[in-house]
């Protein structure tokens, strides 16, 4: 069962099963490690649904909800 990364709560970890966005964005996410098979942990979130931070392949990366919604995890 997979869910969007944006729907995960703080502190949970998931494994990426797919990235649904296309083209340049997908490529950029991949270069930071957001790819099928990678483990990702949800870090901090900011008020009013601002960007959240994620731990991915040993580094901390911040994404907006919109981008995180295209990353499917389980």
């Amino acid at each position: 069962m997979s869910a969007a990364l944006s729907s995960l709560t703080q502190g949970t970890t998931g494994q990426i099963v797919g990235v649904t966005c296309q083209g340049e964005l997908k490529q950029r996410l991949a270069s930071l490690g957001f790819m099928q098979g990678a483990k990702v942990t949800v870090g901090h979130s900011t008020i009013m649904n601002g960007p959240r931070t994620y731990t991915i392949r040993g580094s901390q990366v911040s994404l907006r909800g919109k981008e995180a919604a295209s990353i499917m995890v389980e």
Partner: protein, 718 residues
């Protein structure tokens, strides 16, 4: 001695891996380093001589991959490809190899001669990362040196490896990264096709690289090869088939393959000491728990900003007084030592008044830059961008525009250049156009002078207020721009790496502060001196002006009259005052002022304030210098009215002063900013737009302040 040979070495790596720090250590020089991703936008290089070999180091921008998407990636790849450095040093963060090695795998495919610097050795050790250097060397096919760029550990070894590699002509150890079977077959077919086109006059490594890039859909390489129709058709076919078969695009399959290679590599050559890893206290995590806290993050951020401005004002006040006393002493000494002459007047009332009036703000500027450097180097700047992205986004700005904004508190010129980190051109344009509204340190003297004069002990808070207004104006302007003239902005994603918090280095901090202090001093020595002389000249010439009355005779008459001494003195002072006023009005500056002052009539700016604003077009520091020169001539300079502050408070009301601050804050940025605005937008229209926009907005807001303030203080409303 063997003949001198010069080699060029490019430093390549992810952002924040310590390339610039390493370059500093390798070349023992100073250069600004920053702890936020992509601080190096332009390419910088430095040359040294080592063991009889001239080595030029080039600091390429930090990149995550070579897929030619962002400016930085394009720049780095083109540099490696077209400029053909003799060698690249791939700098990696040893504590974060997994992500860093993706770029490495792409560099390996490119086949350039290379050496690996596993930097941040200390951090890796603290994390419990242990590596087997020999295994890495074997699999990566090139020397690996573990370094600590901060304290210089491993730097000599790295230099030795570079020289050794250059001497034995750096054989290229071809390492092939294996991919999925179907992908491999596609690569092979495409590579063969390419070899045929090149009549087999191409290395197998290069044809493989080209094939991979074509399958990846790399725009640059595709453009380069588009004339070869059959090849293009074949490549498109391969990509379609691959995607259909695997439900995944070829570029993703390639990246998967690379990550698989990285995994295998790490599995075989590195180890995590679990004891160390578990027992360590992760400072970054602890700090972020507070600084990125959902509810506390933003208030803390505002508090930190407030502290920054408060400190700029209060701590800055001490050295400011010393400099002020020094200037006064110099002025008084010269006054006693020199006999009256035009030159003495120029020196004391022109140059010293103007330069002295400006240079006392050096401490404030240094303190402000200290904070900006501190935010950069510790890594707090990127957290700030995360915290404010939501707000910025509401106003049509990208969260990344926050970094240029804070940089703009220092100077708008580098700030506008820093917008290059924003990928979407429209987002970037908005960020550029609003940046001049961010109050730079050149405007700081004006605000310190005015808030100090009018707000007494609350001056620090008032200063914070000025900056908040400045940000608000920038935000609202951004919102309006993105809803009107620049539609389609504000769509690009927010993807930002947050580097771990690090102690700022002494070298980086001091060089940052020193660079900016010396920039300011250069300005004082150049444009401020020139401006002061010009203002002094315009104010002192023509020396003799025809006056409407014969003041001398009138004064003589009073002196011989029957009135009491006190009455006489009062009448004479009044006449002297009138004479001074009329003389000033008839001199060049008075004539110019009479022409321009009506423009500022709605804001109640007097002639002096109007002139100061006009001179501020060159550089905003000149505004204060102008006041300095103007009031040093002033008619009321006696013992009680020492200092510019008193002259200012006695010449305008609080409301006018606020209107003046608004005007100074917003109106047309200095010439340097206009220059860089043109350079970065490459558009005369947008440059002109920015000038017109800022001038009309300044006029409108200052006039509004004046009007509303007049209503309130005039008792009209309350």
């Amino acid at each position: 001695m063997e003949p001198q040979k010069k080699i060029r070495v490019a430093l390549v790596g992810n952002p924040n891996t310590g390339r610039t720090t390493l370059l500093n250590k390798l070349t023992k020089g100073k250069q600004s380093t920053g702890n936020y991703p992509r601080v190096t936008v332009s390419v910088q290089s430095r040359e040294i001589e080592y063991q009889g070999m001239a080595i030029e180091f080039v600091d390429l921008p930090g990149i995550y991959s070579l897929s030619s998407r962002t400016d930085e990636e394009l720049l780095s790849r083109e540099y490696i490809h077209n400029q053909q450095p003799d060698m690249i040093v791939n700098v990696l963060d040893m504590g974060n190899l997994e992500r860093n090695l993706l770029l490495t795998s792409q560099l390996i495919e490119m086949g350039v001669p290379r050496i690996f610097a596993f930097n941040m050795k200390d951090e890796a050790k603290a994390k419990g990362v242990e590596i087997d250097v020999e295994k890495f060397e074997e699999i990566l096919g090139a020397p690996v040196v573990a370094t600590n760029a901060r304290n210089g550990e491993g730097v000599i070894e790295l230099l030795n490896e570079i020289v050794a590699c250059a001497r034995r002509d750096c054989q290229r150890n071809p390492i092939v990264i294996p991919y999925d079977d179907h992908l491999e077959q596609s690569i092979e077919r495409t590579a063969e096709h390419i070899e045929m086109l090149h009549h087999h006059d191409i290395s197998s490594e290069q044809s493989r690289w080209l094939a991979i890039k074509l399958l990846e859909g790399d725009e640059t390489v595709l453009r380069q090869e588009r004339d070869h129709q059959p090849l293009m058709v074949a490549v498109n076919h391969e990509r379609e088939v691959l995607e259909k078969k695997h439900g995944e695009t070829a570029d993703m399959m390639l990246d998967s393959g690379r990550y698989a290679f990285v995994f295998g590599l790490l599995e075989g050559a590195s180890r995590l000491d679990v004891d160390v890893a578990i027992n360590r206290i992760d400072t970054t995590r602890v700090l972020d728990a507070l600084l990125l806290h959902r509810w506390l993050g933003l208030p803390i951020f505002l508090l930190i900003m407030w502290v920054m401005f408060e400190t700029t004002f209060t701590i800055g006040a001490y050295p400011m007084d010393w400099i002020d006393a020094g200037v006064m002493f110099l002025s008084a000494t010269l006054d006693n030592a020199m006999s009256p002459s035009l030159f003495k007047d120029l020196l004391i009332n022109g140059i010293i008044a103007g330069v002295g009036g400006t240079i006392i703000f050096l401490p404030n500027i240094v303190i402000l830059f200290f904070f900006i450097a501190l935010f950069n180097d510790t890594g707090y700047m990127t957290r700030g961008a995360v915290l404010v992205d939501r707000i910025m986004h509401t106003f049509g700005l990208h969260g990344k525009a926050f970094i240029p904004m804070v940089t703009g508190f220092g100077c708008n010129v580098p700030a506008i250049m820093a917008t290059r980190t924003i990928d979407n051109p429209k987002d970037r344009l908005v960020a550029i156009l609003v940046n001049p509204f961010i109050s730079c340190s050149a405007r700081l003297p004006v605000f310190i002078l005015f808030t100090g004069a009018f707000f007494g002990e609350h001056a620090g808070t008032a200063l914070f207020g000025v900056y908040m207004v400045s940000i608000l104006i920038a935000l609202v302007t951004a919102l309006i721009l993105s809803k009107t003239v620049i539609r389609g902005a504000n769509t690009s994603p927010f993807i930002m790496e947050l580097a771990p918090y690090r102690y700022p280095t002494w070298v980086s901090m001091t060089s940052h502060m020193w660079n900016n202090a010396s920039e300011f001093l250069k300005k004082v020595g150049g444009v401020i001196v020139a401006g002061s002389i010009i203002i002094w000249f315009l104010q002192s010439f023509p020396q003799q002006v025809p006056l409407s009355r014969d003041f001398d005779t009138e004064i003589a008459m009073i002196q011989t009259s029957q009135a009491t001494e006190a009455e006489q003195e009062e009448a004479i002072t009044k006449l002297e005052h009138l004479r001074q006023l009329e003389t000033q009005q008839k001199r060049y500056l008075g004539q110019i002022g009479a022409v321009i002052q009506p423009i500022f009539a709605p804001m109640n700016f007097d002639v002096n304030a109007s002139i100061a604003l006009i001179t501020g077009l060159v550089a905003k520091e000149v505004v204060v210098a102008t006041f300095g020169v103007l009031y040093s001539h002033g008619e009321e300079v006696d013992e009680e009215s020492g200092g510019l502050r008193e002259s200012i408070t006695s010449s305008m009301s609080m409301v006018t002063a606020i209107a003046f601050m608004f005007f100074t804050l917003i109106y047309v940025p200095c010439i340097a900013t206009i220059g860089v605005l043109y350079r970065e937008t490459k558009s005369l229209n947008w440059t002109a737009f920015s000038i017109v926009l800022s001038f009309s907005l300044a006029y409108f807001l200052a006039a509004s302040v004046s009007f509303i303030g007049g209503l309130i203080t005039g008792g009209g409303v309350i």
